[in-house]
């Protein structure tokens, strides 16, 4: 007879000394791991609950301005530096790691309407209510020197916004018309305009760097081509757009922050329908900024909250609010896609985490593995009702909450009336227009 018994040598299963690692042999056979799905479900439930427990996004508040913060700008080369302009003409440069103001400049008399940094990071530009454009050095004045702008340009009309080209020594301002300036000249190289109303903001495309977009008071968004020095096309919406922001990963996508409480993501090539309407705010949306990954963006609104939206979804995934934060005027996402800065009416700039329950700092490899595993579990079971309920739960201030209920009732009423109109009229006489198409009034080439 031939016989062999299963016999294990304990030496290959038990460690030799206390200083060795324990040996853990693995066998991935599914019969040895029963109840895979229910156990994963329980782990996903625990992970979702812990995510809510650890969701503490507020990091710091930068105090110092003496009037509401009207604009923010990021330093292109230094993650820890941020520039802010206030409504009393003061510009401050902050260090985010020390959370202190490192430099203060009285830049303008009146509001600082726009601030932008040069792509090399050595200087920045500001425009204000005193019809001037000023260029300043990024390093402070050395000992004995006065705080003086490098360059001042006096204009005839008030400038309301400024943006610098991503690669060349060119910047654009907007006011009555869009002006493209060369840094060496005191008069614009070209002025473009389409329509008779004032233009509130202008933005250069980070990828196709010759493209610009601007928002005007007559409810339109105009796209310009700098090489041909002409406007390309414009789209007219129902209400005025406050700002637009280009997607840093997709060359032709931009998001517009509109007064009708929504944000519209457009594809530049087909402006007749927005790609997505992002609805969650209960008051005018004032500013929008994309994450460097191009997958999310953050929006600041007149209702005292900021919301983070994924690009492909119409609902926000996160809302940040504080009792002390009043109307949020400007918002920026830092270049390492980890933090969000917002400047508000009550003179404070707040720093938040982009992922509310993320652990900051260096993670060990085990922590990273555990975080990745939990993230994947949450994604796998995100549609199950208990898990969905827990992960969606956010506390909202009473004003926003009651506004949401009211607006839901109003939307329901409008929808019901529309359905009734269709039901009680001759079939085919009332056309059903999709929600998305309804928002765009016209596209003009």
């Amino acid at each position: 007879m031939k016989v062999k018994m299963l016999s294990r040598n304990p030496d290959s299963y038990v460690r030799e000394t206390k200083l060795d690692l324990q040996r853990v042999p693995r066998n991935y056979d599914p019969t040895l791991h029963p109840f895979e799905v229910p156990r994963e479900y329980v782990r996903a439930l625990n992970a979702t609950k812990l995510e809510r427990v650890f969701a503490k996004p507020f990091l710091a508040s930068l105090d110092g301005h003496r009037d509401g913060v009207s604009c923010l700008a990021k330093h292109p080369k230094s993650l820890a530096t941020v520039l802010s302009g206030a409504c009393d003409g003061e510009v401050r440069i902050w260090n985010l790691t020390k959370r202190k103001c490192i430099r203060m400049i009285q830049a303008h008399e009146g509001f600082v309407r726009g601030i932008c940094t040069r792509f090399c990071g050595t200087s920045f530009f500001t425009v204000g209510d005193d019809k001037t454009v000023k260029q300043w050095k990024m390093d402070g004045p050395s000992y004995g020197e006065e705080e003086e702008p490098l360059h001042t340009i006096l204009g005839k009309t008030v400038y309301t916004g400024i943006d610098h080209h991503w690669k060349e020594a060119v910047f654009a301002t907007c006011g009555q018309q869009v002006d493209i300036w060369d840094e060496q000249r005191t008069s614009p190289i070209c002025s473009m305009t389409w329509g008779f109303d004032s233009i509130s903001s202008v933005k250069f495309n980070p990828i196709e760097t010759f493209l610009l977009g601007s928002c005007a008071s007559d409810r339109n968004i105009v796209l310009y081509d700098m090489r041909q020095a002409t406007p390309l096309k414009k789209v007219i919406l129902d209400m005025r757009t406050n700002t637009i922001c280009w997607n840093p990963m997709e060359a032709f996508i931009f998001t517009a922050a509109n007064e009708d409480y929504n944000l519209y993501t457009f594809d530049m090539r087909a402006l007749d329908t927005p790609l997505m309407i992002h609805m969650d705010h209960v008051s005018a949306v004032l500013d929008v900024d994309y994450s460097p990954t191009g997958k999310d963006f953050v929006s600041a609104s007149f209702d005292k909250s900021i919301r983070i939206f994924p690009v492909d979804k119409s609902r926000s995934r996160e809302v940040y609010h504080t009792k002390r934060m009043q109307h949020v005027i400007c918002v920026k996402w830092t270049s390492d896609s980890k933090y969000i800065m917002c400047g508000s009416d009550e003179m404070n700039i707040r720093l938040w985490k982009a992922n509310a329950s993320e652990k900051l700092g260096v993670l060990t490899s085990r922590e990273k593995a555990a975080t990745d595993y939990n993230q994947r579990l949450k994604e796998k079971f995100q549609h199950h009702p208990h898990i969905k309920r827990i992960s969606r739960h956010r506390h909202l201030p009473k004003s926003i909450y009651s506004q949401i209920q009211e607006q839901r009732i109003m939307k329901e009423a409008r929808r019901r009336k529309e359905l009734n109109r269709i039901k009680h009229s001759k079939p085919g006489s009332v056309q059903r227009v999709s929600e998305k198409k309804k928002r765009v009034v016209a596209v003009v080439k």
């Binding site: 016989v3 062999k4 018994m5 016999s7 294990r8 290959s12 991935y28 029963p34 229910p38």
Partner: protein
């Protein structure tokens, strides 16, 4: 492949090799084999082949189920998930190379019948360590014994009918505790680890520490005949003489469900390790399947012509073996049709049945134990010829295969016997699930993690993968169930209450007038709805009869 590598003696030839990646039609027309700089050809071109059976083991998506038509985005995502699963299962199959141990075997040479080989011969032929695993404990004084191995297979607990309870590490023969509980012991089970023991005594259920200290006496569970512990749910299922099946959650100490089985005295119980369903055997020949979430059995299977004497389910939950008073031993298919696969008449009915991890079936008939083996791990044991037999010094009262050792433990009226059964156990354990060589620290960590991922009792059902399936229950079905469960529909509006107004506008007459107005409005809505439904019904009625008949006037 031109050449096939030489195979050893015991390894069966591999059939149906599967290449690493499925080739698309245009890729098959690839250029000739790779030539290196020296001009030599790689004789084993392409990725190494992997046996199909192993790859199938790791596939979890049931491709035969048809999904309802859904959006393109969802369908494309499901297709991507299926493609990813194929790739991953091939990778997992390759990782089987790293498994260190091989299963045991026993083969007779020259047509020798393995059933005629006695234990003494096997003990002589194997190495010392394995020979030491065969031992006999002669304990005639304290009655027939029932035994239980802990989940890692390292510890053994046994209890005698006259109250002798002991727990020991049977590999090192180190005794953990030995007490006499001064009462009849009907059944004994380890809880989640070797630290706790549950003993079903004559009157109540007692929980002991492994040092013999009595921790709990649970008086709600009285006159228990059988115990089963569901390890991933931390539930102790008890079957009592009063006909109740009680589930006790040992992590929080609550009775989760006490189900009345309505079948008289319950004394045959086993669990299905695949889906944690409890199988109860009854005296009318049926086996019923129970889950703590439902008051009625999940299923009832008619197995035998007389009473059922023993039930056992294998570790993958595919086969159930039952034996009855009609001297039959039957194997049923549990996944799919609940039909008997094979049957065998025994000269004497088998009072105890047990499955091993690799699918061997042990049956205790009187004082003889028979073991049957199957072809491979997945096939049911063939009942034609037994694989091993052994005669004991007393009648069998308890039978269990040791989890990761080739050993069958038998409790009988003469004590405990540990007999050798080569090829019974899974050779490669997973260190994170049950590790027989774990240290105290590892046990503590494992216990905490197991408690954190304890599965709630409501999730026990026939298909444990139900949560990962696409949900196709419609909204109507949900509403109906909610109505049944709550007795009323929470979605309906409460009856209209007119708001009390000031300045005399809230007199009785005006309240009645307002109520009437709302009632009339609702009545009008209902009439409008019924008018809308009428033309739909007329449309439905039209295509029914091709030729008009006189009875059409009675069609609704």
């Amino acid at each position: 492949m031109e050449t096939v590598p030489k195979l050893g003696n015991n390894v069966p030839p591999k059939k149906d090799k599967l290449q690493g990646k499925k080739k698309k039609p245009w890729e098959r027309r690839s250029p000739g084999p790779q030539r290196s700089l020296s001009g030599a050809q790689d004789p084993f071109a392409g990725p190494a082949p992997v046996p199909v059976a192993v790859v199938q083991k790791f596939c979890r998506i049931d491709k035969s189920k048809k999904l309802p038509r859904s959006e393109t985005k969802i369908r494309s995502r499901l297709e991507a998930a299926e493609a990813q699963e194929e790739e991953i299962s091939v990778k997992a199959a390759r990782s089987e190379l790293l498994l260190a141990e091989e299963p045991g075997f026993l083969e007779g040479e020259n047509g020798e019948d393995t059933a005629k080989i006695c234990q003494a011969d096997i003990v002589e032929a194997v190495d010392i360590a394995s020979a030491a695993k065969h031992f006999d404990l002669n304990l005639r004084q304290f009655g027939p014994y029932r035994l239980n191995y802990s989940r890692t297979g390292r510890h053994l607990a046994f209890g005698g009918r006259r109250g002798h309870v002991a727990a020991l590490d049977w590999v090192t023969k180190k005794l953990m505790c030995e007490i006499n509980v001064m009462e009849a012991v009907r059944d004994i089970r380890f809880l989640h680890s070797e630290a706790l023991l549950a003993v079903a005594q004559n009157r109540w259920l007692h929980i002991y520490d492994n040092q013999g200290i009595e921790l709990h006496c649970i008086r709600r569970c009285d006159r228990i005949t059988r115990l089963e512990f569901l390890p991933f749910h931390f539930l102790l299922a008890t079957a009592s003489e009063t006909g109740f099946l009680t589930y006790l959650d040992v992590s929080v100490g609550k009775i989760v469900a006490a189900l009345n089985a309505r079948a008289g005295r319950l004394n045959i119980m086993t669990q299905n390790p695949y889906n944690a369903v409890i199988h109860l055997g009854h005296s009318n020949g049926t086996v019923s399947l129970w889950s703590p979430a439902m008051k009625e059995p999940l299923a009832k299977i008619l197995c035998h012509r007389g009473a059922v004497r023993a039930v056992a389910v294998d570790s993958t939950g595919t086969h159930m073996a039952t034996s009855g008073l009609d001297h039959q031993l039957k194997i049923f298919d549990l996944r799919g049709t609940f039909q008997p696969l094979s049957a065998r008449t025994l000269p004497q009915g088998a009072g105890h049945l047990a499955f091993s991890q690799r699918g061997l079936l042990a049956a205790g008939t009187g004082d003889v134990v028979n073991i049957w083996a199957g072809q491979g791990k997945a096939s049911p044991p063939s009942l034609e010829q037994p694989y091993l037999t052994h005669r004991l010094s007393g009648h069998v009262h308890g039978l269990q295969f040791c989890p990761f050792e080739d050993v069958l433990g038998v409790g009988h009226s003469g004590g405990i016997t540990s007999m050798l059964a080569p090829g019974a156990a899974e050779p490669n354990f997973d260190g994170l699930e049950s590790n027989p060589y774990r240290s105290r620290k590892q046990r503590q960590e494992w216990e905490v993690k197991a408690l954190l991922e304890k599965v709630p009792a409501e999730l026990i059902c026939l298909d444990p993968r139900a949560l990962a399936e696409v949900d196709v229950i419609s909204l109507e079905q949900e509403k109906k169930e909610r109505l049944e469960r709550l007795g009323y529909d929470p979605g309906t509006k409460p009856p209209f209450q007119p708001k009390p107004k000031q300045k005399g506008r809230s007199s009785t007459a005006s309240l009645v007038k307002r109520k009437r107005k709302v009632m009339d409005e609702e009545h009008r809505d209902k009439v409008r709805q019924s008018l809308e439904q009428q033309p739909q019904k007329q449309e439905k009625a039209k295509p029914m009869g091709a030729r008009p008949s006189a009875l059409d006037r009675f069609v609704r």
